[in-house]
């Protein structure tokens, strides 16, 4: 291990980590929005849209992100939809994550019994009030463990971005190994940076889970 080399590489890795985080959080944000919309459509059985979201969820849950990215990045330009690498990365992550989040939120909504909604309505609440104050808080606290697991999963999946030539951590490591043969140092920094990104998320996730475990109804 050569510390001079590590110091020299550090700025490159920092830049790459920023890119990973930037695309990662945009992707996850859109994944949550998309997943929430799909879950509501599924739960309230909106005709036609329900079948479409079903197909989407099954398609993207059962294919790897790498294949999705290749299709979006190399395939879509051929039918007149050129996508830049940044957009492609975020879009791929959002589409993959959306399908996972949809399942998570849907099972959360399903876990809240219908009697909750009915009771709220019979107390004179509007549908939106019942949703906002009764159903969603319970559904969200039920889906939190799966939700945080999804976030960690999606952050880990960003490691395949290097395949579409985004200069993320993987790309930097591979590039440096190829250029200078400093394998140990490059890999060491790679591990350290992924730890810096993922360890806080993982710890935060377990803290949130512990706090929300008491929020469920009746137990």
């Amino acid at each position: 291990m050569d510390w001079n080399v590590i110091q020299e590489y550090l700025p490159l890795y920092k830049e790459a980590a920023v890119l990973t985080l930037r695309i990662g959080w945009i992707g996850i944000l859109f994944a949550v929005i998309l997943g929430f919309i799909c879950a509501m459509i599924q739960h309230y059985r909106v005709p036609i849209l329900r079948q479409i979201t079903k197909v989407y969820i099954e398609l993207f849950r059962n294919t790897p992100l790498l294949v999705q990215l290749f299709f979006i990045y190399f395939g879509l330009p051929k039918v007149g939809l050129p996508v830049s690498a940044d957009v492609c990365g975020a879009a791929g992550l959002a589409l993959l994550g959306g399908s996972y989040m949809a399942e998570t939120f849907r099972s959360g909504l399903e876990a809240v019994e219908t009697v909750q909604m009915e009771s709220a309505l019979s107390l004179g609440m509007k549908w939106f009030q019942a949703m906002r104050y009764v159903v969603l808080p319970q559904a969200i606290s039920i889906s939190v463990p799966a939700f945080t697991a999804n976030v960690i999963f999606l952050l880990k999946e960003t490691s395949v971005f290097s395949a579409i030539s985004l200069m993320d951590l993987m790309f930097t490591a591979k590039d440096l190994i190829g250029l200078y043969y400093k394998t140990t140092e490059s890999l060491f920094l790679l591990v350290v940076f992924y730890l810096i990104i993922l360890l806080p998320v993982s710890i935060a996730a377990s803290l949130i889970e512990r706090r929300l475990r008491y929020a469920g109804f009746g137990n």
């Binding site: 099954e58 398609l59 849950r61 059962n62 294919t63 790897p64 790498l66 294949v67 999705q68 290749f70 299709f71 190399f74 395939g75 879509l76 330009p77 051929k78 039918v79 007149g80 960690i152 880990k156 999946e157 960003t158 490691s159 395949v160 290097s162 395949a163 993987m170 490591a173 591979k174 190994i177 394998t183 140990t184 890999l187 790679l190 591990v191 992924y194 730890l195 993922l198 360890l199 993982s202």
Partner: protein, 224 residues
């Protein structure tokens, strides 16, 4: 624009090559699954022990696997081991090592979850009937655990298959690599083949994983 690669697909033995590529990826995941299921069951049992040493060790192992992207593990084994120990690991072998390492931890966690979901009185009643530790596991705990475990571990297989697409990044020739080769070889005659070929790869993965997910969901519903 008119030709999106469907003709390329049926040219020569291109379709067979793609399927062989898919098989190369599936083979890696199947071997890794076969290795990680028995090892994972052992790990899971070790995780439930009250020994503080094993508790810390398995915890650290699980966290490493949870936090490190599989791709990083692949790089460490494929590039790092070669460098540090001077052993030349073939890409396929290193991916099997990594996916077994990963699968064992995941499987171990599933086994642990299934084991601790069995109420304590099951163990105690069995012990009260003078069963030995081995008998308790064999006749009481394992049959109940399996029902919870089987759907989840089937689900793990689909995750394994999806993750093996990463092996392309360390140079294993699998379905994505073959797809790239086919596209490159036909660049002149049908420049738009990328759309069709990658769409086919997408659907190939889907047809490999979807039936397995359906089976897992069906079993989960049936046995819960």
């Amino acid at each position: 624009m008119q030709d999106l690669g469907i003709s390329v697909l049926f040219k020569g033995i291109n379709m067979q090559r793609l399927l062989l590529g898919l098989w190369a990826a599936l083979r890696i995941s199947l071997i890794s699954v076969l290795i990680s299921i028995p090892l994972g069951i052992l790990t899971g049992i070790v995780m439930t022990l009250r020994n503080p040493v094993t508790k810390v060790l398995t915890r650290v192992y699980l966290e490493i696997v949870r936090i490190m992207p599989q791709m990083v593990l692949l790089f460490i084994v494929f590039f790092g081991v070669t460098r540090v120990f001077g052993i030349n690991l073939p890409a396929e072998l290193s991916s099997i090592i990594v996916f077994s390492f990963w699968g064992t931890a995941e499987m171990g966690d599933l086994v642990r979850g299934a084991l601790i979901s069995i109420p304590k009185h099951q163990y105690e009643s069995a012990a009260a009937l003078a069963m030995s530790k081995a008998q308790i596991y064999l006749y009481i705990i394992i049959p109940q655990t399996l029902r919870r475990l089987v759907p989840l571990s089937i689900n793990l297989i689909t995750r394994m298959i999806k993750t093996t697409s990463l092996v392309m990044m360390i140079g294993v020739v699998e379905v994505l690599k073959v797809a790239q080769q086919i596209i490159e070889a036909n660049r002149k005659t049908s420049p738009n083949a990328a759309f069709g070929i990658f769409a086919v790869v997408f659907l190939l993965y889907f047809t490999a994983c979807w039936p397995i997910s359906l089976l897992s969901r069906y079993l989960e519903k049936k046995w819960s």
